[in-house]
Symmetry: C2
Subunit: 354 residues, 2 copies
């Protein structure tokens, strides 16, 4: 059976402001020293598993030009433009319906566009294993990440018995509080939910039909119009009328036949500026420093410099990010609050800075 991939690239990446902007969010940025953007890396590491012409990118219509620019090898018709943001369930239904026009049935990998993987060999092998599990019956497969600390920012997967390297999923749980996360870690029965899914088109369409019949109907209409002159009109009408829904809540928490495969390929969701020091090399003072910077007596800092000189003196545990029109100076304990700056800018109507 053919293997296809859908890369979800509609995120806003607000936690990476000021580098990430509405006009160029995180997935289109390079946060590593090799200069490759997150989405370029995502496609590249997929190629041992999926042919280029079977990789689809679902993104907001305002980013299709960026996708074409950064991924010229992807066929233009594989770039699927959402007219608005409706979370992952409508996104996946839309992509499944379109791919279903090309292939009667096929395996479909659904992957985020803005994560990092350190071992691409183990990653490809894990995906291949997942494909083989997904090909059987109506299995829905998700990649779980083995937790090494009690993270409270991720959802967890509680797994049961093993069969051929995949584990049955008992339940999905939302982001836990710290004591609960600690219990999960101790139990050895929980994995992080990475947001990577593998299933046949027929399996996921069947479940969408069962659990979200409204979205199923709309997606089918979009799929039927694909390749015709009506496509944009139908897409606009049907997609904007979808409710916002996550695939986790809409399907995964309710469906049967769910399996998880533990991934141990060095996964990082690059969730905030804190990630930059994890995914890059640091110096002897535990600093990650890039660009036009002079640092004097500084430790544990992350500095992403731009054209202008950044002079850091006597500071610790601080993140500094410089751009043409804005500079962020943020405590490492407050990286989640970068979003608050965007909220303030919105209040002030300063859209040029968002």
């Amino acid at each position: 059976m053919k293997t296809t991939a859908v890369i979800m690239a509609g995120g806003k990446g607000e936690r990476f402001w000021p580098k990430s902007r509405t006009s160029r969010p995180k997935q289109f940025l390079s946060l590593t020293s090799d200069g490759e953007t997150m989405i370029q890396k995502t496609v590249k590491r997929l190629l041992p598993v999926v042919d280029m012409e079977d990789i689809f990118i679902v993104t907001n219509s305002s980013y299709t030009a960026l996708v074409r620019e950064q991924l010229p090898e992807i066929p233009t018709e594989n770039i699927l433009a959402e007219p608005c943001a409706r979370n992952t369930a409508p996104c996946i239904a839309f992509a499944a319906a379109v791919i279903n026009r090309k292939y009667d049935d096929a395996v479909m990998l659904v992957l985020p566009s803005d994560h990092l993987i350190s071992n691409e060999i183990l990653y490809a092998d894990t995906l291949k294993k997942a494909v083989s599990v997904a090909e059987k019956d109506k299995n829905l497969v998700t990649i779980g990440i083995t937790p090494n600390y009690p993270e409270t920012g991720y959802g967890y997967i509680n797994f049961g018995i093993e069969k051929d390297g995949a584990y049955s999923v008992e339940r999905f749980v939302e982001k836990p509080d710290l004591p609960t996360a600690e219990k999960y870690l101790e139990s050895g029965r929980y994995l992080w939910n990475s947001g990577m899914f593998i299933w046949k088109l027929s399996s996921i369409m069947n479940n969408i039909h069962r659990f979200m019949p409204d979205i199923y109907d709309g997606a089918m209409k979009i799929g039927e119009s694909f390749g015709t002159g009506n496509f944009n009109e139908v897409l606009e009408r049907e997609f904007t009328s979808f409710r916002s829904e996550s695939i986790d809540f809409g399907i995964m928490e309710k469906a049967d036949n769910i399996y998880t495969i533990p991934g141990n390929f060095g996964w990082d969701d690059v969730g905030s500026w804190l990630a930059v020091e994890r995914i890059n090399d640091t110096d002897d003072d535990s600093n990650y420093i890039d660009g036009n910077v002079i640092a004097e007596d500084t430790r544990h800092v992350t500095i992403c410099g731009g054209k202008r000189l950044i002079a850091a003196v006597g500071i610790e545990d601080i993140i500094i990010v410089d751009t043409e029109d804005a500079v962020l100076v943020c405590s490492k304990n407050s990286t989640q609050d970068v979003k608050k700056i965007i909220a303030r800018l919105k209040e002030q109507g300063r859209n040029d800075l968002i």
Copy 2:
């Protein structure tokens, strides 16, 4: 007797980088919200004591245009341009010799150009008192500042008995270590050396002749050529041949008839970026924030913004100063180390940033 003033404005103000640059050091900057520069304030608060035409500015030759621009009321011939920096003793000898061509004898106030005074009425009264003491005999008068904490960054004046509101000076002492500074504070017998001096031209020339005869000879030659076509040539030759010497070490630590008058007019030497929060109003979170800034969950910060947005998130006790081509992010404990950035820039030959 005529009262004249010499404002010493040759400093480099390196601790105020990146706002202070070689081309526009601290005395030519405004560090308060009223927009007046330090040297403009210095002249303005002197006017109850000295006529404008009797105020002289000694500065480096590269700053004479800045002085004319910021102080157009000062007669051009009162701007005395040093061809190079030789510390305070040659500066004062040069000014005294030139003023001596205008007035046979006169009282001469010698004042820094980059300090702040919060009560200008008490300041003027203190200077007037000092003038009356300086007019008697060959008295050398210095203004001492009553210490309110054991500062280790200033020299101290040990005073003896009082006579007509002035105290005899027992000795000048260099910057002490902390235990010594604490002893000074406790004794009640020490004042901070503010670098403000008051004396007659005849008194100081007499002492220069006695303790620095080489500088006396050169200064006399410069004075004699003042107003002639030879002036620039003589100044260049004699001044560059002076050794570097402070008036404190060269005269004050050795001379007789030294008196000090305690000044209680709210003095701040504005010695580093730490001063900015002292000399300006702060908000409810103890922040001093100026310019294009959004601060979220920040306390005890000083932010001098420029054109670009500075977004501060979750930080404390940090100083941020933005300029067109450089931004400083500095711990409040490290403001003295700003000079190290300039040293690094010199090493790297990046003179455009100094």
